[in-house]
């Protein structure tokens, strides 16, 4: 993975010093809360319900074992020994103390980490495919491009005070694992007829209050123009995006109001003045960055390891874990492993400091010492030999990291919600827990098959509920917490936004509602149909009528 050189180290150290002085001035009253807010946000610091929350950047989800060990130390020393991985591949600490944040940032800088631009109205942490570099279906490794974007966007002087936050994702496969269409800029690596590498550029996607999948404004952008083209998009947005209404300030609103064609025309006109300028990439620089993303020295192994095959057959629990949590690798004899952070009874994405240390050890012992955070809030070991899967599984299981539900209903994606977040309208973690405990039976989950369930505690949609097969959104009605359900959302190639089922539900109804949705699917499905396929075939109506079949007073329905 990318390693800092002297300049990267210096910049991050200078940022820590800058923020230490800003914090000092704030604490002695020289810097008002209004003046301090954007500064602390651009260092990942929110003021939350109970304490400040620090969001630490994990650029495009890449971590190494040394960094994870440091995160464990930070979580234990400055927080309550727990971290939370987010849907944007970052790590959040929920109980930090403001005066200690500069010290935390200094500790992170020792392992080439920071919290720069993980919040605020600026270009945020760039996200990418958690299987980057090992996926068989990859057009090219997206990480060098994500790293180039990380550097270009870090401390960008012109785009630090945008109308609103700005998120970029880099996808490298047909079967998009980054939800790129739901980003302010979604970049899709592709090759033109001549084999040249470039990007299809999507702009103006987003979830939140106005969920939109971004339209394509350029089918093919030669890769060397990546940064100048992004600069053109950002400049049009910075100059013309709305600043009068926070809910209309994202770039998607600008794209919508101008129309895709006119927006694209303005970007192209701006880009004409920038292309072939200083931001365009020379091959040497791309190679310098790409050289960091090495592969381990793979051994020449059989496609199927005999002992692994025996274990898989003889140990049912192991076999189930392999089926759900182990994925194909482009190199024979190797596998990609998802360590689940979805153990029943715990908040999805949460990980203890001790677990972080365990994962770091597992990465060193069984993989390349590197790991990835997925936007589904799990951790990925990218280079495990098949023969090592059994001992790895035993250790992961002992640490509570082997819940065999990846891709299942119980692999819930969930924001911290009202338990922590001051933006939330409703709690989300207890809903996730109630659903997980309803669907504990692994055989039943297996029978249900692939089904994504996403929960957001408010319209900001950090849980990506719009693109869950089942989406749950916390809403506030007259001071009470209610939950609106959408169905039919999906990620990947041909992503879709879910449709609202109907009036919202009380918290204690939610497990029943999910169960009825699942029953509807099971009673209508054709062989080999997943939930989303059946839903697309029969439509929302049968689901709706089943869920709302009981009388209103029994369901304590809120007003629609």
């Amino acid at each position: 993975m990318y390693r800092y050189d002297e300049i990267d180290h210096r910049l991050v150290a200078e940022r820590v010093a800058q923020f230490r002085d800003q914090t000092r001035r704030h604490l002695i009253g020289e810097l008002s809360e209004d003046e301090f807010r954007p500064l602390r946000l651009q260092n990942g610091l929110y003021v939350q319900r109970h304490a400040p929350m620090l969001r630490i950047a994990v650029p495009y989800g890449m971590l190494n074992s040394r960094q994870l060990t440091k995160l464990a130390h930070v979580a234990r020393t400055y927080d309550r020994g727990v971290g939370h991985f987010t849907t944007r591949q970052n790590l959040q600490l929920n109980w930090v103390k403001l005066p200690e944040v500069p010290d935390i940032l200094a500790e992170l800088a020792e392992v080439e980490m920071h919290a720069i631009q993980t919040s605020g109205n600026c270009i945020r942490n760039v996200t990418s495919d958690h299987f980057a570099g090992v996926a068989a279906d990859e057009i090219a490794d997206p990480r060098p491009w994500a790293e180039l974007l990380r550097q270009w966007s870090s401390f960008h002087p012109e785009f630090a005070y945008l109308p609103r936050k700005f998120k970029i994702a880099v996808n490298a496969t047909k079967n998009d694992r980054t939800v790129a269409a739901a980003h302010d800029i979604g970049l899709h690596l592709t090759r033109d007829a001549a084999g040249e590498l470039g990007f299809t550029v999507q702009v103006g996607g987003g979830l939140g209050r106005t969920p939109i999948l971004g339209p394509v404004i350029r089918e093919f952008l030669p890769s060397r123009h990546l940064l100048s083209y992004c600069e053109a998009i950002l400049r049009i947005y910075n100059r013309h995006g709305r600043r009068d209404n926070i809910y209309k300030a994202r770039i998607k609103i600008l794209v919508k109001s101008l129309g895709t064609a006119e927006f694209a025309r303005q970007v192209e006109a701006e880009w004409e003045t920038l292309k072939d300028g200083p931001e365009d990439l020379c091959a040497e620089e791309v190679r310098r960055i790409a050289a960091h993303f090495t592969t381990p020295d793979y051994q020449l192994l059989a496609d199927k390891d005999a002992l692994f095959e025996v274990r898989k057959r003889d140990d049912k629990a192991f076999g189930r874990w392999v089926e759900r949590n182990v994925h194909g690798h482009k190199v024979p004899g190797y596998a990609v492993v998802t360590l689940s952070l979805k153990a029943p009874g715990l908040a999805p994405g949460d990980i203890t400091a001790t677990q972080m240390e365990t994962v770091a050890t597992l990465a060193d012992d069984y993989s390349s010492g590197e790991l990835r955070v997925s936007h589904e809030q799990n951790l990925i070991l990218s280079d495990v030999r098949q023969r090592d899967l059994y001992p790895l599984w035993q250790e992961a299981r002992a640490a509570g990291l082997a819940t065999p539900t990846v891709g299942h209903l119980a692999d819930i994606v969930c924001c911290p919600g009202g338990d922590y977040c001051s933006l939330a309208n409703a709690k989300s973690i207890p809903i996730a827990q109630a659903i997980q405990s309803r669907f504990e039976d692994l055989d039943y989950l297996h029978d249900i098959g692939e089904l994504s369930l996403n929960i957001s505690g408010c319209m900001n949609a950090c849980g990506h509920h719009h693109v869950g097969n089942i989406g749950v959104l916390g809403v506030d009605k007259h001071g009470e917490e209610w939950y609106q359900v959408t169905i039919g959302g999906s990620q990947g190639h041909g992503a879709s936004i879910g449709e609202t089922l109907g009036p919202s539900f009380a918290a204690d109804e939610m497990a029943d509602v999910i169960e009825r949705l699942v029953e509807t699917y099971l009673s209508h499905r054709h062989a080999d149909e997943q939930f989303i396929d059946t839903l697309r075939r029969i439509g929302v109506a049968p689901f709706k009528s089943r869920v709302y079949a009981t009388p209103h007073e029994e369901r304590k329905i809120a007003n629609a």
Partner: protein, 178 residues
Amino acid sequence: MPNIIKNGIVIDDDWKTVTLTGDDTPETIKLPVGRLLVPARVWRARRAELIGREYEHGWALGVRLTAEEGPEAIATDVDDFTVIAVEFSRFADGRGYSTARLLRTRYGYCGELRATGDVLRDQLFYLQRVGFDAFALRADKNSEDAQASLADFTAAYQSAADLSSSLQRRATATRLAA
């Protein structure tokens, strides 16, 4: 006399700011003696008069752009001005950054580019990188304290108005001139 930070040092500022308020119109507002920073609307309405003052009295010309007014408002006139001031009504409104960048890199403006209004020390570094070389801090802020922030960073990942040679390729992050 108020001061500004100019090219990294604090100096007295003898430019007067003309502001349209109430019933003022660009055509009728009274122009005081001396060097003036006038709104772009006043410049457009009274261009000949302002140029005449420069000839007659040697009062150099200055113009002020609001956040809404991009460089297009004065695009063909930039060479007439000794000072272009870009107004920040709120420090968190980032439009002025693009205005400055464009004035420097697209419209070829080489004179003083001044940030005015809600200008605070913690934005100075970025303001400098997009091309501002003068900063009129908000009245309650101390220019001497703020100067230090111009040196917050000693390198940059991207080109801006301060590193804009079109021949410069990004072989690595670029060290800023000291």
